[in-house]
Amino acid sequence: MLGNLINQGRIKSPWVVHFDCGSCNGCDIEVLACLTPIYDIERFGILNIGNPKHADVLLVTGTVNHRNKHVLKNIYDQMPGPKAVIAIGACGCSGGVFREAYNVVGGVDKVIPVDVYVPGCPARPEAIIDGVVAALEKVKTLLGMTA
C-alpha cells in the first residue's frame, strides 16, 4: 500500500532542476516562463528546486562541450534515484547547429542517459511541459502503474 502511495507521490510531485549546459539562454527563458502565472507548472506539483539533491527531473538546455561535461555528469550523479533527464531544445537534443564545432561533445545523451527529447529552437513552454508529462508517462510505465 505504502508502495502505491509513494508511486502516486512520484507522479504528482516531480521537482525539477534546470541546468544550463552552454545554451544561448533562449531555452532557459522558456523554462523559466513555465513558472509564470500563464503556464503555472506548480499546478502539477512541479517545483523548480534548484538543487540536484532534491530534484527528480533534470532539465538540460544547450550543447555539451568539453569544459562542462563533467559538471553535467556530477549533477546527474548527485540526484538520488529514481530520476529522469529531459534534454531541451535542438542543442540539448543533438548539439544543434554547434554539433560539428571542435569544442562540442554533442547532445546531452553523449554524457548521461536522456529519457525525453524536447525539440525546438527555442522549445516552447508548452513543449517543455509536454516533455515533463511524457517523462512522467515513462515513469508510470516503469513503475507498472498503467495497463
Binding site: N51, P52, K53, H70, V71, L72, N74, D77, Q78
Partner: protein
C-alpha cells in the same frame, strides 16, 4: 571516623603535595597521584554518607592557620616587591595590618569556634572537588608528559606542577568545609597563591604577565574578604559561619549593618569567580597547561567564589542588596555569553562561557528563592562536570592538532573520533534538555519569573549560548568519512574523559535523586520550604514542570531510533557535497575544480559577528556597566 575523613580530604592533599614536590621519579608520582585521587573520591563519598557535621580540631591547628596566613601574605608581598607591582604590595600590606588587628586585638576566644562544619552544600562541593578535581589531576599525568616533551624541557617541572595541583584540591576542600571564617580566609588565600603559581607555570612572558594579573585581582578579592570578616566580627560578634547564617537575617532586617560586610564578601566571591570587570584574569589563565584551566574553571577556584555567594545567600535574602546581586549576575551572564559568541579560540569560548554560567549562579543567589538556590546548587554541580570535560577535550585536541581554534577543529571526527564524540557529548550536556545544565537553567529562568528585567537578560543570554555551542558541535562532525580510525591516547588522558562524559550523562539522569537527597535538605534548612515536588521524578511546582524521566525516555528512544537509521546508511549512499557540480575531492579533502584544472580546497568560517560581539569594543562597555552596578550595589545595598 569523621576526623579521618576531614583529615583525608583536607590535610592529606597538603601532605601528598609535599611528597610530590621532592619526588622526581615519574612512575612513583603516577601511582601516588592515582592513589590520592581514588582515596579522595572515596573519602568524599564516605563523608556524604555521614551527612552534616561539626568538628573542632586541636587548638594547635588554630595557631598553624594563623601562621600560615602570615606566611602566604608575606609570600604575596615578596612577589609584589619582586615584580614591582604597587597594587599587590599595598593590598598585601593592608591585609597584613588587617589580619594583625583581627587576630590579636579583635578575636578574643581563639579556638572556641568549631573550625569545620558541613551541610549538604559543603558536601556537594567536596564531592565535586574530590571527584572532578582528582580526575583532572590524573589527566594531568598524561598531559604534562606530552606537554614537556613538546617544550623540550631539560629538567622536568612536574614536581612543582603537581605540588600546586594537589595542594589546590586540599585548600578547596578546606575552604568549603570551614566554619571559622579565619580558616576559610587561610584556604581562600591558599587558592589565590596556587592559581598564581599554576598560571605562571610555563614561565613565558605572557604567562608571567597573566599570572600577575590574576594575583592582583584575587588579592583585591582577598582584601575585601578580610575586611568583610573584620566588619562581621564587629557587627555580629562572631566568625562562626554557622552562627552568622543563623543570626545574620536579624541584622539584615534590623538596619542593614550586615550588608556592608556581606557586600565585601560577595565582592570577594565575584573577583574569585572572575565576574566582570575582573573577567580578564580567567581568560588570561588559559596560557597555563590545560589541566590548570580545567581545574580553575570547573571544580575549584571560581567555584569557591560562587560557593561563598550562595553560602551567604540566606543572610541577605529579601534585601535590596540581593536584588542588585541578581541584576549584576544576569547582566554578566548576558554580556559574557556575547563575548563567547565572538570568539574562535576554543579555550576562550570555554572561559567566557564559564564566566557566563557563574554569573547565572550568582544571579540565582541574588534571586534568593528556594527554587533559585536549588538552581544555583545544581548549576554548580553540572557545570563542574561538563566544563571539566570540555576543557580536557580541548587540551587533548590541542596536543593532537596543534591548535585550539575551533575553525581548525572542522572535521575533527575524522582525526580523533573518540575525543570528538566526547566533546560533542560535553556540548550537548551543556545546552540541551534533558541534561542537568539545561534543567538548572530552566529553574533559574522560571525563578526569575515576575522580574522582567532579569528575564530579558536571561532570555537574550540563553539565545546567545545556543549559538556558540551549536556551531562548535556541528563543525566537528564535518567529515567525509563515516567510519574513522580511533586515535591512540594515554590511558590517564582517556579515562578521565570517559568517566566525566559518563558522569555528565548519569548524574543528569539521576537529577531527581540528587535533588531529593542533596539539594532539597539544605534549601529546606535555610529557606524553610522545598521548591519542587517530585511526582514520578518530575520537577513540579506551581510555576512549572520539568519532565526528567519521560524526556530522557522519549528523547533517548528517539535518539536510538535516529542512530539506527543512521547506521543503515551505507558507504555507497555517501555522495559529494553540492558545489554546483564543480566538486572534486583530492586526498579526502573536498574542494572545487578550479581554473586550469587546479584543485581549490573548500574553506569555510563561522560568523563571529564582530559588529555585535567584538571583544575589545564590548569588554570596555561591559566593564564600565559592571563597575557601575557594583558601586550602586555598595551604596544602594548599604542604604
Amino acid at each position: 571516623m569523621l576526623d579521618t575523613l576531614v583529615f583525608v580530604t583536607v590535610l592529606l592533599p597538603f601532605l601528598v603535595a609535599a611528597v610530590l614536590l621532592v619526588l622526581r621519579e615519574q612512575n612513583v608520582r603516577k601511582v601516588i597521584l592515582v592513589a590520592t585521587a581514588g582515596v579522595l573520591a572515596l573519602a568524599s563519598l564516605a563523608m556524604l554518607r555521614g551527612g552534616a557535621f561539626i568538628m573542632s580540631p586541636a587548638p594547635l591547628y588554630d595557631t598553624l592557620i594563623t601562621l600560615g596566613d602570615f606566611v602566604i601574605l608575606f609570600v604575596v608581598l615578596f612577589v609584589g616587591i619582586k615584580r614591582k607591582n604597587q597594587i599587590i604590595i599595598w593590598l598585601s600590606v593592608a591585609q597584613i595590618i588587617g589580619l594583625i588587628i583581627l587576630d590579636f586585638f579583635m578575636v578574643k576566644e581563639h579556638g572556641n569556634i568549631p573550625a569545620f562544619f558541613a551541610d549538604d552544600l559543603s558536601l556537594v562541593m567536596v564531592l565535586i572537588i574530590s571527584i572532578v578535581g582528582s580526575l583532572i589531576a590524573v589527566y594531568g599525568i598524561g598531559y604534562m608528559k606530552e606537554h614537556e616533551e613538546h617544550l623540550h624541557l631539560t629538567k622536568s617541572k612536574q614536581p612543582q606542577f603537581f605540588f600546586f595541583i594537589v595542594l589546590f584540591l586540599g585548600a578547596m576542600n578546606g575552604l568549603v568545609l570551614a566554619n571559622n571564617l579565619l580558616w576559610m580566609y587561610f584556604f581562600w588565600e591558599c587558592t589565590t597563591l596556587c592559581s598564581f603559581m599554576l598560571i605562571g607555570h610555563d614561565d613565558t612572558e605572557i604567562a608571567r604577565k597573566n599570572a600577575e594579573r590574576a594575583l592582583w585581582m584575587n588579592v583585591l578579592g582577598g582584601t575585601a574578604f578580610l575586611f568583610g570578616i573584620i566588619l562581621l566580627q564587629k557587627v555580629v560578634g562572631t566568625l562562626s559561619l554557622q552562627e552568622i547564617l543563623a543570626r545574620g537575617p536579624e541584622f539584615a532586617v534590623a538596619g542593614g549593618a550586615i550588608l556592608v560586610p556581606m557586600f565585601l564578601l560577595v565582592f570577594a566571591g565575584m573577583t574569585k569567580a572572575a565576574q566582570a570587570p575582573f573577567q580578564s584574569w580567567l581568560t588570561g589563565a588559559m596560557v597555563a597547561p590545560t589541566p590548570v584551566s580545567a581545574l580553575l574553571h570547573s571544580s575549584t577556584m571560581v567555584k569557591a567564589g560562587v560557593y561563598i555567594i550562595v553560602r551567604l545567600a540566606p543572610v541577605y535574602a529579601g534585601t535590596y542588596f540581593s536584588n542588585f546581586v541578581a541584576l549584576f549576575g544576569a547582566f554578566v551572564f548576558l554580556a559574557t555569553a556575547c563575548l563567547a559568541a565572538g570568539q574562535s579560540n576554543g579555550k576562550k569560548i570555554l572561559a567566557y562561557s564559564t564566566i557566563s554560567n557563574l554569573a547565572l549562579i550568582i544571579a540565582c543567589a541574588g534571586i534568593n528563592t528556594p527554587a533559585a538556590i536549588t538552581a544555583a546548587i545544581l548549576l554548580i554541580l553540572f557545570h563542574a562536570i561538563s566544563k571539566a570535560l570540555m576543557f580536557l577535550c580541548v587540551g587533548a585536541i590541542e596536543q593532537k592538532i596543534g591548535s585550539r581554534d575551533i575553525e581548525d577543529m572542522r572535521g575533527l571526527f575524522a582525526v580523533m573520533p573518540r575525543t570528538a564524540l566526547v566533546a560533542i557529548i560535553g556540548i550537548m550536556t551543556m545546552m540541551l534538555p534533558p541534561f542537568g545544565m539545561l534543567m538548572a537553567k530552566w529553574m533559574a529562568i522560571e525563578s526569575a519569573h515576575g522580574q522582567f528585567l532579569l528575564m530579558i537578560m536571561l532570555a537574550l543570554g540563553s539565545g546567545v549560548t545556543v549559538l556558540f555551542w551549536c556551531r562548535w558541535a556541528g563543525l566537528m562532525l564535518g567529515t567525509p568519512v563515516a567510519k574513522a580510525k580511533p586515535e591512540a591516547q594515554d590511558i590517564t588522558v582517556r579515562a578521565p574523559l570517559y568517566i566525566l562524559a559518563g558522569l555528565a550523562l548519569v548524574v543528569s539522569f539521576f537529577s531527581p535523586v540528587v535533588y531529593n537527597s542533596l539539594v532539597a535538605p539544605v534549601v529546606k534548612m535555610y529557606y524553610k520550604a522545598a521548591p519542587y515536588a517530585l511526582p514520578y521524578g518530575n520537577f513540579d511546582s506551581p510555576v512549572g514542570i520539568f519532565l526528567v524521566y519521560p524526556l530522557f525516555l522519549l528523547l533517548g528512544l528517539g535518539f536510538y531510533f535516529a542512530l539506527k537509521q543512521a547506521r543503515k546508511v551505507t558507504a555507497a549512499q555517501c555522495s559529494q557535497p553540492y558545489m554546483c557540480g564543480e566538486q572534486q575531492t583530492v586526498d579526502g579533502k573536498p574542494g572545487f575544480l578550479g581554473p586550469l584544472g587546479l584543485h581549490v580546497p573548500v574553506q569555510s568560517g563561522n560568523y563571529y559577528l564582530e559588529q555585535f560581539f567584538g571583544e575589545t569594543m564590548l569588554s570596555k562597555w561591559i566593564n564600565v556597566i559592571a563597575l557601575a552596578v557594583l558601586v550602586i550595589m555598595l551604596f544602594g545595598g548599604a542604604l
